[in-house]
Each structure stands twice: as structure tokens, then as C-alpha cells.
Amino acid sequence: MRLPQTPSQTVGPFFGPALVRSGQQSLVTAGSRGERITIEGRVLDGDAAGVSDAMIELWQANADGRYDHPDDSQEKLLDPDFHGFGRAATDERGCFRFYSIKPGAVPGPGIILQAPHISVSIFARGLLKRLVTRIYFPDEPLNATDAVLNAVAPDRRSTLIARNAERQGVLLFDIVLQGEHETVFFDV
């Protein structure tokens, strides 16, 4: 017999003190292996206004493409200084920022590696359940064969690929909840 699922409800506007504590917008410490990246973006609503009360969570593999989780049994090194989880709130303009490393490629369907990516959850007042998307990287050859990217209509794929900022190591990734350039969100 199966137990029925507990329903989702909105995170509301008052989660900050409970959920967003200092330090979680950085996934790295001095000892973390890998290429340092900064991810900056805005969460925008259907009027292209910044969403000032959203929370973003990241989940990613380490620089070698290994998740810090018992279900990842790959023979790749864990990194004692990288666990792969980050969380940040948006500011009054809807902006967020994370400090991390570029993840390595992890296995996908068949024998094909997935392109490097970061899994993203978005929570906010007005979102009765989370939204899920992925951040992919620009100029990444594996993007062409990535099964998840290829499941997305070609004209919308670009919403999943971060852009290089002029500043070295900074990637830009806006999350558009609704509207002309709406981000692709996934049913997981």
C-alpha cells in the first residue's frame, strides 16, 4: 500500500531568517578543487519586475563530476571541501549571486555524459510549489549531445545556458518566471 504524498505550499515572504543564513551563497572554501565561478542573475516576473522575495538553491557535482551522495558510486574523487549545495535569497531588485566551481560532467542516459550543469530550485511567495531549472555553461562542447537540453525546443534552449560576463569567471543567468523570454522549467 502506498502512502499519499504531502502537498506543497508556498514558501511565503517571511522565510529569510529561517532558511537563508550567512555563508550559503558560497559553495566553496579555500581548499575546494576546481575552476572558480561566480553566478549572478535576477529573478523576474511577468512584468519583467525583479522578484525581491525569492530563494534560489543550487545542487551540483564537484570539479571531477562526482556528487557528494551515497547514490553516486562513480570511481571519482570526493572533495572534502566541496559538498555542492548553495542557497541564496534575492535582494530588493531580484538579484542573486553564488560563488562556486564549474562542475565536472556526470553520467546521463546511455553511455553519454551529461554536459556540466547545476540543478536549480526556485521558491517564492506566489509559487505554490518550487520551480526547477538547470544552469548550463557557454562554449561547452558536451551541450550538443546533452539529453536534457535536447529534450527542450531549440528556440528555448538558450534560456538554460549562462552567458559570460565581461568580468573574468563571472556567469550571468537570469530566471524569467513568465513572459517573452521565460526560462525553461522542468517537471522532475
Binding site: 502512502l3 499519499p4 506543497s8 531568517p17 529561517a18 551522495h69 559538498h83 540543478s119
Partner: protein, 236 residues
């Protein structure tokens, strides 16, 4: 490498839609495009394990009633239960985070402008880790109802916010726990955004005299069911 089975999907009717007519804030935030189905990969089957790095052993962050060396005002309550998957298996060592209004219906948050008093001894935030049986327990005060501006004379029913991770990215859940007999429930757009009546009822805690501590606090039971493993293995 063999990739373990993925997780089951949302049960239709058990969760709210993104756009709900009577909850105004959904209208400009709900996506217009259909979600793209993502077959679970290692990225969704794995997920953050925050128990160890978040809470020190012996932490008392599950007791919200003694903030800043004083006693919180209000009706003291125990909220306890288990975190299970759809197959009834306990989910041990997973982080639960809660937040709530104080007994007067006011959050200790700069954006909360409701004209009700703050309580210097109640911050309204707590954390706990489930034990080997998936059990958790919080000591807090019953949150007050409070007005919000969704529509004329709108009041949120008494509720506590809960955030849970479970074993994977796929099992992440944020929800709200309500109280039995609350007359505001039938009027609340957020509660009523859940299509199935029986699913809505699962967000209402059960009063339990066995959990109640004599001369100290009323007891409520509230269990969580997160998505279980799919029988068929993930693509590998």
C-alpha cells in the same frame, strides 16, 4: 556505473497548480509554458545531505520557546511526527527547518508590517534532524492568524512553515502545517489551492492527548510523506 532507480512523480491533484485564480501573487509568477519532463538522472537522484554540517549534536534548535534567555508568550505546543516515503519507509537524518508567526500573528521579519506585537523571546525559527526512525519533534507556541492583502479582509489560518529535503533533489518539499478546527481554512486561497480535498486534509495536524505534556504543552502529530523510489531504474 549502475544508476539507482529514480523517484516517483507528483501525484495528480495532491499538489497545487502554479497559477491559482484566488491567490493573486501567482498571476505574474506562474510560468505560461508547460514544464519540460526531465527523466531522472544522477543529478536528481542525489541531493544535499545537510544533517551533519548544519546542526551540532545536542543542539536545542528544535525548541523555539526560549529565545534570548526568556520565555516566549503564547500557548505552548509540541509538534512531532515522522518523515516517511510513499512506501512507508522512514527517512532518517534529514534536515527539517521551520518558521512561523508568534502567538500574536507577527513574524520577526522586517517586511512584516502587521500591527501586532513582536515577542522579544520568540524568533519563530527552528531546525531539527530526523532520528533513525524518521521522527522529529519541535517545542514552540501556537502561531496566531494574521491579515494579508490578497483580497478584502483576508486572513491566513494559523500555520507553521516546514522545509524538508529528503534523500534527493527530487524529494525536496516546502509546505505548511495547519491546525484542526480552524474556521479560516475554508476561506484561505493558499490552503485551497490544493485540488484534492483529501490531500488538503493531510496538511492539518492531529491533536493528540498522548503527545500533550501535563501542565506544560498541548501536543500535535504531523507526519510527512515524501516521494518514494520508482520501481523501474533510472536510465543508465
Amino acid at each position: 556505473m549502475k544508476i539507482p532507480a529514480g523517484y516517483r512523480r507528483e501525484t495528480p491533484g495532491a499538489h497545487p497548480p502554479y497559477d491559482h485564480p484566488s491567490y493573486t501573487s501567482t498571476h505574474k509568477r506562474a510560468p505560461r509554458h508547460a514544464l519540460v519532463r526531465l527523466e531522472h538522472t544522477l543529478s536528481e537522484i542525489t541531493g544535499p545531505r545537510l544533517a551533519g554540517e548544519t546542526l551540532a549534536p545536542g543542539s536545542n534548535e528544535n525548541d523555539l520557546t526560549h529565545f534570548d534567555d526568556g520565555e516566549a508568550l503564547g500557548e505552548r505546543i509540541i509538534v512531532t511526527g515522522r518523515v516517511l516515503d510513499e512506501d512507508g519507509r522512514a527517512i532518517p537524518h534529514t534536515l527539517i527547518e521551520i518558521w512561523q508567526a508568534n502567538a500574536a500573528g507577527r513574524y520577526a521579519h522586517v517586511e512584516d508590517q502587521h500591527q501586532a506585537p513582536l515577542d522579544p523571546h520568540f524568533a519563530g525559527i527552528g531546525r531539527a534532524i530526523t532520528d533513525d526512525r524518521g521522527a522529529y519533534r519541535f517545542v514552540t507556541v501556537k502561531p496566531g492568524a494574521y491579515p494579508w492583502r490578497n483580497h478584502h479582509n483576508a486572513w491566513r489560518p494559523n500555520h507553521i512553515h516546514f522545509s524538508l529535503f529528503g534523500p534527493s533533489f527530487a524529494t525536496r518539499l516546502i509546505t505548511q502545517m495547519y491546525f484542526p478546527g480552524d474556521p479560516l481554512l475554508t476561506l484561505d486561497p493558499i490552503f485551497n489551492s490544493i485540488p484534492d480535498r483529501s490531500a488538503r486534509a493531510r496538511l492539518i495536524a492531529t491533536f493528540d492527548i498522548e503527545v500533550t505534556i501535563p501542565e506544560y504543552a498541548l501536543g500535535y502529530r504531523f507526519d510527512f510523506v515524501l516521494r518514494g523510489r520508482d520501481a523501474t531504474p533510472a536510465l543508465s
